[in-house]
């Protein structure tokens, strides 16, 4: 007997008048998985999360979160999930423990249990010796950890992280992901929405959303394999000038700035290399290195997949 997935969504749609924010979404999230929801702003990520949280009713379609129906049992869902958004939802003029007390009370924890859990989560996120500090005084990275602690105070089996790392420095972000891994290892299902491509790499599986529709689903590895073109890394002296020229080449499918060079997607690497070198030398743009194929990044994959979907 197969184990029921933690989250399952079938043909989920949400319209606002004529605007289709979410259009016929279907996917499933296994228990204990770190599932990524990737897409640009306005793609429909937040709307989907709201439907899964029981905050918004779908226009059509169905879904189950933690075994509860998102339409009929959305009250029950709220008791078993944790939610953390980029706004953190913390009260600045409350202390660390007062914030946790509040959320614990809201989730119905008994005084006894709340005391235990507060100690546990503070230890988990490393804030034990800041218990009585005003939240206002915490640096952003610590606030983020406190927000996470508040979201898991009631030991939810499913955690929604909605752009939860926006605006946080890379080191704090790394520490945050360590916490997420720890929780996933303990069996918590985690759904992450992000528009940072490198965070998507941390997920077990991904779903790519664009204009409300699923563009692709799968593990990051698999999605990168979807890229059929070869990606050449090109390092010209004049980035802007080269970009403009290369985009016009027939062998080039797509070109974009990547780091200190360009990533150029081509169908025929050998022919493309020749074409690139010709046109650049014709315009007096030197190459610091020879163009070489690189493994496609998730960003490359995303762009390619979106383009393909657009056709």
């Amino acid at each position: 007997m197969p184990i029921e997935p933690a989250i399952v969504v079938q043909n989920l749609s949400r319209h606002f008048g004529t605007f289709k924010a979410v259009d016929n979404l279907s996917f499933a999230v296994k228990r204990g998985e770190i599932f990524g929801f990737l897409g640009p702003n306005g793609a429909g990520k937040s709307t989907t999360i709201r439907m899964l949280n029981g905050l918004l009713l779908p226009t059509s379609g169905a879904g189950r979160v933690g075994g509860f129906d998102i339409i009929k049992e959305n009250d029950r869902i709220k008791e078993h999930i944790g939610y953390m958004s980029q706004r953190f939802s913390l009260y600045e003029d409350l202390t660390v423990s007062e914030n946790l007390d509040f959320f614990g009370g809201v989730y119905g924890l008994s005084t006894e249990r709340l005391r235990e859990r507060t100690t546990e989560v503070l230890r988990l996120v490393g804030l034990e010796n800041r218990r009585h500090d005003l939240t206002r005084t915490l640096p952003l990275g610590l606030k983020q950890r406190l927000a996470l602690a508040s979201a898991i105070i009631h030991e939810p089996s499913i955690l929604f992280l909605d752009e939860a790392t926006s605006g946080v420095d890379p080191i704090s972000r790394r520490n945050f992901w360590d916490l997420i891994y720890a929780m996933a290892a303990a069996g918590v299902t985690i759904l992450v929405t992000t528009h940072y491509m490198e965070e998507a790499e941390f997920c077990d599986r991904l779903v790519l959303i664009y204009q409300g529709r699923v563009v692709a689903q799968g593990a990051p590895r698999e999605l990168k394999r979807e890229v059929q073109e070869t990606i050449l890394a090109v390092h010209p002296d004049d980035l802007d000038g080269a970009l403009h020229l290369l985009k016009g080449l027939p062998q080039v499918v797509e070109a974009a700035v990547f780091g200190d060079g360009l990533h150029v997607a081509v169908t025929d690497p050998a022919a493309a290399e020749r074409g690139i070198e010709e046109i650049l030398s014709a315009h007096d743009i030197a190459l610091r290195r020879r163009p070489e194929p690189v493994r496609p990044s998730l960003e490359d994959a995303f762009i390619a997949l979106v383009q393909r979907a657009g056709k």
Binding site: Y83, E98, F102, F103, G105, V106
Partner: protein, 377 residues
Amino acid sequence: MNQRRAWAVFRKELIHIRRDPISLAQVILLPVMLMLLYGYALTFDIKHVTLAVYDQEQSQLSRELVKRFQSNEYFQFIGYTKSYEELRDLITFRKVQAGLVIPYDFSWQYQSGKTAGVQALVDGTDSNTANIVLGYVQGVTTPYSEQLLMQRLRTKGPAKQESPVNVQIRFWFNESLESRNYIVPGLIAVIMTVVGALLTALTVVRELERGSLEGLLATPLKKTELLLGKLGPYFFIGMFDMFLVMALGKILFEVPLRGSGLLLIGLSAIFLIATLGQGLLISVQAENQLQAFQMAMLSTFLPAFLLSGFVFSIYLMPLPLQIVSYIVPARYVVTISKGIYLKGVGLQVLWPSALMLGASALFFVGLAIRKFEKKIR
């Protein structure tokens, strides 16, 4: 409805209040400051003071006196009463503003060369108005008295004459015409408006501004629990302020509480709920704290101060403002408060005001909740 969740919100709100010393100071200092700031000398031109007369004698002399009042443009003669009780009731129920009692031996006193006294009864709950009415009454009786004096001099010669007619004035309900006696009851309304509407509007808007509401919605917290927890502390603060005003009124100013304190507390609590509703409504409509403040000042505080009968008598306002005052809830609680404090009356007299108060509470709270729900979507 889960009490534990509502209680969690309530407790958090108390922490917010505690950590905001400015709001806290306002809430405690304001009643005290307003109490000490009394002393409004206000005059409006008072015309057509309604007058009823209990003429025990019904002689030519008494009718002459009454005719003087009837022909005076400052008075509006309503009619004669058949008893003292009837006259008293007319004043109590505010059917007339002043009454005149002419004793049965009025003419006899005059004929025998003594001073004939009449009694003028004036509703003293607004001591400013009462003073003015006093002036008007004397404005009628003094010339009449002088005229009679002239007549007597002509007929009887310049012997020692007593002033023929003299008016003994009693101010009912507020004998000493202490302005503080009518400031204190009305103050309760103003204070509650500040706490209930102004403070509430500011704090709920702050929460909405902050965007922390989004996180709350993903929790099992229900809307009713959120509202109860958020508004609860302000209800208790408002009631505390009310007790503070009542206590200070008794201790500092010896304002007498003649009616039922329990009734006053009960009806004031209903008024407080109405103002909380107004505060919530404002916080849903306003986009930020500044707007909330302005809206609260304009729609609750100023009307409570100016149009409720707190200091300025409604009956003396121009008609358009009188009409507007009907939709100011503070007006009803001021009537009730003064009635219980100074007149010692109960629900038999105050039931229309109590009814309007209840209706306004239901209206504002109901409307506010509906708008709040819509905003959350």
